[in-house]
């Protein structure tokens, strides 16, 4: 067994020790973290110059919808 094999085996054992519900939590936490980040963005970053005239011109809503769908998908499957 080479040095590279030993590193690989160590990493593999660590990954195997993580229970799947925790992994699901990791996936969901990543998506939730991203969602919180999107909502924390200033309006100037998510709307056209001069501000949004309609609610759907604020990109926060589109990004939120995309991420919420992801959160639902990774919660169910």
């Amino acid at each position: 067994m080479t040095f590279l094999h030993r590193i690989g085996e160590f990493v593999r054992e660590q990954m195997l020790a993580v229970p799947l519900p925790v992994v699901r939590g990791l996936f969901l936490a990543t998506l939730l973290g991203l969602l919180i980040w999107v909502w924390s963005l200033p309006k100037s970053v998510t709307t056209p110059p001069g501000g949004a005239k309609r609610w759907d011109e604020n990109l926060k809503f589109g990004a939120t919808l995309a991420l919420v769908i992801q959160i639902v998908i990774y919660s169910v499957f």
Partner: protein
């Protein structure tokens, strides 16, 4: 041949296909009439609307081989393949839309390598441009051949004629209309692709009794599969131990997250660390064929909006290309070749007349990927090689001619390479090598690009070292995992899953990232005008 079973096309089918092809050519010609400069050709005159770019992003990402391949992988391994479209796309697209795409748009560059020269130096630009060009040029030939092999039995035309026809058609409208033609034809192609695959999904679900019926049938199919693999059955002469290992993880066809020791190519560490954190950002932030269309947006806001719209559409894609693979498993369990899943479903579900729409959807998926890589490869040759090294004083009008000439040249090369591949043995590994090629350099390029955009202290010398060592790392890992190599060296393979390209990218990224950080700290800082080319974190509100 993959789609051979769907070749009973009626006149109505052929009429739908002909209407689609004529519409595509007509649109390309119409757009080409307005083409005046290189900026028009490469960036559509920066006049593209967000909705068209978003649909084009999705169409480019999904090729015809993906429709067949993803359906086949879902049949064999289950829903986990959908990770490539969900966690492997949506988060990276959202981050890119608010940080990296607007930043690149503001720099006014034509290509990612151009940004890398402004931030680092000409060597970094040349290395990255060469990697992309080699990959795109080879991939064009592969996509052309793969497309033609699928079209040949479908239309009852020889593969050689299909190669010429596809190259001629796609080459024509890309050459005439540039990026605008590519994006607007992609819009049609995206709509046709979604409509065609949605039809298969709806008819398939109604045939198996809805979602509940599908789950019941999948459970039965899994039980049958487990029974066949039980130690008592002694299939294929496998040892009891091997079967026990397999049985400890019965195939979970409706699970997205699979254990680290799954026998499928989708263990969760590869999906999370390799796909979601590395390959996906590398693709959506650093892939010239993808980023180029958002650089052609009408405004910075529309560039951002295009990525958000693309992310929303991406949520739908696995439903229409992966779920049909599961429906095929429920309807036809026990097929040996998973890639037959989608075609068999089409043959079984779609009445004559509607098959034409699916074939048009399939052609749309094939063409939308080829045209994008053709246009982007031409942009790199014209801007990163011709203008940068051969004729820095080239006018915008001159660049238009060079862009068209290069597109023609690339079409000729792709045809030649496709014919060369037809002479090679399909088992020679050439296909697998080129499919893995992108994983070789995407990790290192992402490390250099991210540090360049986010860290003022990153230097050009460090970027060169990181790129070379990162690419060498992924290539070495690939080589060490080849049976002939590890057998010769008398060692075990490094990775225990098939197709471990996601792991190559993780290690190559980590090596490159470490090197760019360490070497930057040991080299002199870049001049201010270079180190100022980083993302500003100051709030604009």
């Amino acid at each position: 041949m993959i789609l051979a079973e769907t070749n009973q096309l009626a006149f109505a089918d052929l009429a739908v296909i002909a209407a689609y092809l004529l519409g595509t050519i007509g649109l390309g010609l119409y757009i080409g009439r307005k083409m005046k400069t290189g900026t028009d050709f490469f960036l559509a005159g920066r006049q593209l609307p967000w909705w068209a770019i978003g649909m084009s992003l999705v169409a480019t990402d999904i090729g015809g081989t993906d429709i067949i391949g993803v359906g086949g992988a879902a049949y064999k391994h289950g829903l986990a393949v959908a990770n490539f479209e969900w966690i492997g796309c949506v988060p990276a697209m959202i981050v890119a839309s608010f940080i990296f795409i607007p930043f690149l748009y503001r720099t006014g560059v034509f290509t990612i390598p151009e940004y890398l020269e402004r931030r680092y130096n000409a060597t970094v630009r040349s290395i990255v441009a060469s990697c992309w060009l080699i990959f795109m040029a080879c991939n064009l030939g592969i996509m052309l051949l793969a497309s033609s092999k699928m079209m040949s039995p479908l239309l009852n035309i020889e593969v050689a004629y299909c190669i010429w026809a596809t190259a001629g058609l796609v080459g024509f409208y890309t050459c005439v209309g540039g990026l605008a033609a590519v994006v607007y034809t992609d819009v049609i192609q995206c709509a046709v692709m979604i409509a065609g695959c949605l039809m298969v999904l709806v008819l398939g679900l109604s045939r198996v009794g809805g979602w509940d019926g599908l789950q019941e049938r999948l459970a039965a199919a899994e039980a049958q599969q487990v029974e066949q693999q039980s130690p008592d059955s002694g299939i294929d002469g496998q040892s009891a131990d091997a079967n026990t290992t397999e049985l400890s993880h019965p195939i979970e066809h409706t699970q997205l997250i699979l254990p680290a020791d799954t026998k499928t190519p989708f263990p969760w560490p590869a999906i999370y660390f390799g796909l979601a954190l590395i390959l996906s950002p590398a693709y959506w932030i650093g892939n010239q064929a993808i980023v180029q269309r958002s650089l052609g947006a009408r405004s910075e806001f529309e560039a951002k909006a295009s990525y958000v719209w693309g992310a929303l559409l991406k949520n739908v894609i696995p439903l229409i290309i992966a779920i049909p693979g599961l429906i095929a498993l429920a309807m036809f369990p026990g097929m040996k070749d998973g890639d037959q899943a989608f075609p068999r479903l089409v043959n079984e579900l779609l009445p004559i007349g509607l098959r034409g729409l699916f074939v048009a959807a399939f052609l749309a998926a094939l063409m939308s990927s080829i045209d994008s890589y053709l246009n982007s490869a031409s942009t790199i040759v014209s801007n990163d090689l011709y203008k940068r090294f051969m004729n820095p004083a080239a006018t915008d009008e001159k660049l238009l001619s060079i862009g068209r000439f290069t597109t023609g040249g690339l079409v000729a090369w792709a045809v030649m390479f496709a014919f060369l591949l037809t002479r090679m043995n399909e088992d020679s590994g050439i296909y697998a090598i080129f499919q893995t090629l992108m994983a070789f350099f995407q990790g290192p390029v992402l490390a250099v690009l991210l540090t360049g955009m986010l860290w003022r202290r990153a230097t050009g010398a460090a970027a060169i070292v990181a790129l070379i060592c990162g690419i060498a790392t992924s290539m070495s890992l690939y080589a060490l995992n080849q049976e002939s190599v590890y057998t010769y060296l008398g060692i075990a393979p490094l990775f225990q899953i098939s197709e471990p390209f996601l792991y190559f990218s993780v290690w190559a990224f980590l090596v490159s990232l470490s090197l760019v950080i360490v070497c930057s700290l040991f080299t002199l800082p870049e001049k201010e005008e270079k180190s100022d080319l980083v993302v500003s974190w100051r709030s604009k509100s």
